[in-house]
């Protein structure tokens, strides 16, 4: 499985990243691409920007472990995960997950699995800038629930 994990400040090109996974090969029958985008409204109030803080070293390691786990669970032929950090304005992309497989089921499931785990396990924190100042976004219980459902056959040994 071709796997790429990148953390960067710069924007990414989702279409180009998906094309890189399939270029020159004919065994891939399905590519799922998920892009997380910065919303302009948070809790009913307009926001100026998000700032994403991360834990260098651990963030890459945690994402790579989950990419490997996804590769054990589904017959994937390629995975690309890109997560931006720093200041991100509304409308800009934050995160990209691309999964490639022979068939769509694996590609869809693996992309969802990776996003659910990214949200709850990858060490990133969002701070939101509004007219009234900067505040840290609280973790959502619904994200924990989303990650929980993959655990039934979870082999990952980290504390969860």
């Amino acid at each position: 499985m071709k796997a790429t994990v990148r953390l960067q400040r710069e924007p990414f090109d989702a279409a180009a990243e998906a094309a890189k996974l399939t270029r020159g090969r004919s065994d891939i029958g399905a590519v799922v691409s998920f892009t997380g985008i910065c919303r302009g409204v948070e809790d009913g109030e307009p926001i100026a920007a998000l700032t994403l803080e991360h834990y260098p070293g651990m963030a890459e390691g945690e994402i790579e472990r989950h990419v490997i786990e996804a590769g054990k669970r589904w017959p994937l032929l390629g995975v690309t995960v890109i997560h931006r950090h720093g200041r991100i304005a509304p409308g800009e992309d934050i995160v990209l997950v691309v999964t490639a497989s022979s068939h769509r089921e694996a590609a869809f499931a693996a992309a969802e699995f990776l996003m659910d785990y990214l949200k709850t396990h990858a060490p990133f924190w969002k701070q939101v800038e509004k007219a009234g100042g900067k505040t840290w976004i609280d973790a959502k219980a619904t994200d924990d629930t989303a990650a929980e459902r993959w655990k039934a056959s979870h082999r990952h040994e980290a504390a969860e």
């Binding site: 994403l52 803080e53 070293g57 651990m58 997560h83 996003m115 990858a122 924190w125 973790a139 504390a159």
Partner: protein, 85 residues
């Protein structure tokens, strides 16, 4: 034995620094004991660790539970629940 502590997001803001190296206090064996000890180091630490139940920890880049042993840890990080993605 010395250990590097790293703080992120509002834990970092409350403590007032991103990282520091400390001598592991004797008798402190677990992550939760270390949090209680840190909370006693002054006002900013007390504020940062006032509700240890909401703080997550990692030892040498791996998520750990509060009862994890800190023995042999090179780097211990404290941070709020993650909100990436």
């Amino acid at each position: 034995m010395s250990v590097r502590l790293r703080y992120f997001a509002w834990v970092r803001e409350r403590v007032g620094k991103p990282e520091e190296v400390i001598e592991t206090p004797s008798g402190i064996k677990t992550v939760s004991e270390l949090m209680a000890w840190l909370a006693s180091r002054g006002e900013e630490y007390a504020h940062a660790f006032e509700n240890p139940a909401v703080i997550r920890a990692a030892i040498d880049h791996r998520h750990v539970r509060p009862d994890a042993a800190i023995k042999d840890a090179g780097e211990i990080a404290f941070f709020p629940p993650m909100t990436g993605g």
